[in-house]
Amino acid sequence: MSQIQEFEKVLSGSDTNVAAFEEHGKSFVKRAQHFLHSTPAAVPLIVLVLSVIIFGIAIGGRFFSSYTLTLILQQIAIVGILGAAQTLVILTAGIDLSVGVIMVISAVIMGNCALTYGMPTLLAVVVGLAAGGACGLLNGLLVAYMKLPPFIVTLGTWNIVMATNFIYSANETIRDADVDAQAPLLHFFALSFRVGSAVLTAGVIAMVLLVLLLWYVLNHTAWGRHVYAVGDDPEAAKLSGIQTKKVLMAVYTLAGLIAAFAAWVSIGRNGSISPSAAVTDYNLQAITATVIGGISLFGGRGSILGTLFGAMIVGVVSMGLNMLGADPQWKVLLTGVLIIGAVAIDQWIRKVSV
């Protein structure tokens, strides 16, 4: 063995301190910048508060009525829950175009099990959840094991599930009154609570709790970190010992399961169960909420709390425009402007903070 090189011998005397650059100005602005930078959900929250204030000023007291504000929450409950499912998938750098139809078919299955086949309602719910999970599992298998692009996989399952939904249900709507009479548990999430003068439905509470739960899982469990790692750099994740396939499988399955849970909530909201809800573009709404909430479509970045705020931003804006009496097309136009505006503000704040 040869000798250590001469110049390396001096190293024993070298500085062993941790490098400590002086911290620069601790002004309020700097602190705010750092906070915004390290708290990805803060930006959509600020945009949300701003839009509430703006519409509040424009519309006046009516907008702040507890009825209006809680109505907004009720209106976004489903998109919020679907957005949570979408967030999981997008964090892995994927996309799920099928969550919307998975929700619809799960609702139809729950309804048919309880009313047509006469199962106990709880069992019917479980079957519906299982169906949603199974659709998600199919997505997961195709994405993780066959390595197909998520966009295409879920575009395919979207078509498949949509058609199955119409064929299976023969387009028969299950009526509100029948649900109430035979399987009231399906209406569980319509339960409402009065807190002061605000009215909250169980569905709204479920959405908030679900997002909080997922936030905990994503940030404080190993599995959650793995989801981020897989989305960030799948190759690195795999080399550093993460079972990327299992993570992807779990994420898509969970997304399906959450969509089925959204189905239960939607039965509460709509009363009846209608297969034709499949034509509504829930996916686009969920994706919009997710992206406005600051989740990067390239994976690995963002906080699920942002999605919740993103959904609320969309809800506030569309309710606000309604109350201002905007014409439907002008409303569409302004929604477009606001989508871009919200993200522009987000980007601007982030830029300042670097």
């Binding site: 009516r62 709509n270 034709s276 809800a277 309710m319 439907p328 097309q329």
Partner: protein, 316 residues
């Protein structure tokens, strides 16, 4: 503030609903009603209509005029509005069940269908027995308008409809097939192309409305089959009537959306004043705004008006 009212249409792309909105807006201005308008993104988009109804309640409106995309699915939300004390009137498309709304102002859609069916059969004469018929319907959920017109056409033509509440359970060999159009041109074109691929000897086409008929005609023209096919439709908008003049459409059942809208606004204004609710037409469970068959080739035993009169009465 004046009386608040809402108009919720299926889309605001179909000229029929554009006119309906114009009519309602004009009448609202006249009566000092504060009208807000909403629309679904495409025909069949019920979620947007649900959100619209909720906004109307939040807004303190007195009444809602709605053309429902999902005639069964929307019922519980309509109930919420009525429970909150709003007057809900279905325009153009009855809810299912029809009494889920306080009133319905609409064309007699079954009659509209029967008229074009009977006209088609009479025009074909002997050839009616072995015609090849295609149906360009509305959406997969089979809303009431769709069922009424489709089954009405069959009744008028002389086809056994089996269950009159259901499209597609018939077994008459003359039926080539059904396809959905979403009530717009692009959908009409696609659906027509699909049916042609099944059987290109088709010679009769029932279309849910005129936008779908225009699309179907384009598909036929593209393959040079426009002469072989008899197209019938429902609507009677000005472009549609012109198409009848030109022979593009054989006959169309004309409806009167401006009237539906105006009557609807008046009803809400009256309800806001003293709580009176509108009454249906004698002998029917809805208020019939009337229908006329428009054609330049009148057929025996089917009452019709010519395109000149049609143009005088047309909208849009």
């Amino acid at each position: 503030a004046g009386v608040g009212a809402c108009l919720i249409t299926k889309t605001d792309t179909n000229p029929f609903f554009v006119k309906m909105k114009e009519g309602a807006t004009a009448k609202a201005k006249e009566l000092g009603v504060d009208l807000k308008t909403y629309a679904g993104k495409i025909d069949g988009d019920s979620e947007s209509q649900v959100a619209a109804i909720e906004s109307c309640i939040a807004d303190g409106a007195k009444g809602i005029l709605i053309t429902a995309s999902d005639t069964k699915g929307i019922v519980p939300t309509v109930k919420k509005a009525r429970d909150a004390g709003l007057l809900v009137i279905a325009l153009d498309t009855p809810l299912d069940p029809i009494d889920a709304a306080d009133a319905t102002f609409a064309t007699d859609n079954l009659e509209a269908g029967k008229l074009i069916g009977a006209w088609a059969a009479a025009t074909l004469g002997d050839k009616a027995k072995d015609a090849k018929i295609g149906f360009l319907d509305l959406t997969p959920s089979q809303p009431t308008v769709d069922v009424l017109r489709d089954q009405g056409f069959m009744m008028g033509y002389g086809i056994d409809v089996k269950d009159p509440n259901k499209i597609g359970d018939e077994d008459d060999p003359r039926i080539v097939g059904h396809d959905v159009t979403n009530g717009n041109e692009e959908g009409g074109r696609k659906a027509m192309e699909n049916l042609l691929q099944k059987d290109n000897t088709i010679n009769v086409i029932h279309t849910i409305n005129e936008p779908a008929a225009v699309g179907a005609y384009q598909a036929l023209k593209a393959v040079g089959l426009e002469k072989q096919v008899l197209i019938v439709s429902v609507d009677g908008g000005c472009p549609g009537v012109k198409s009848v003049t030109e022979g593009v459409i054989g006959a169309t059942s004309q409806q009167y959306p401006l009237q539906m809208a105006a009557l609807g606004i008046e009803a809400i204004a009256a309800f806001a004043k003293d709580g009176t609710k509108p009454k249906p037409t004698e002998g029917k469970n809805f208020f019939d705004t009337g229908v006329n068959l428009v054609t330049d080739k009148p057929a025996n035993g089917v009452k019709s008006i010519d395109t000149k009169e049609g143009l005088a009465k047309c909208w849009g």
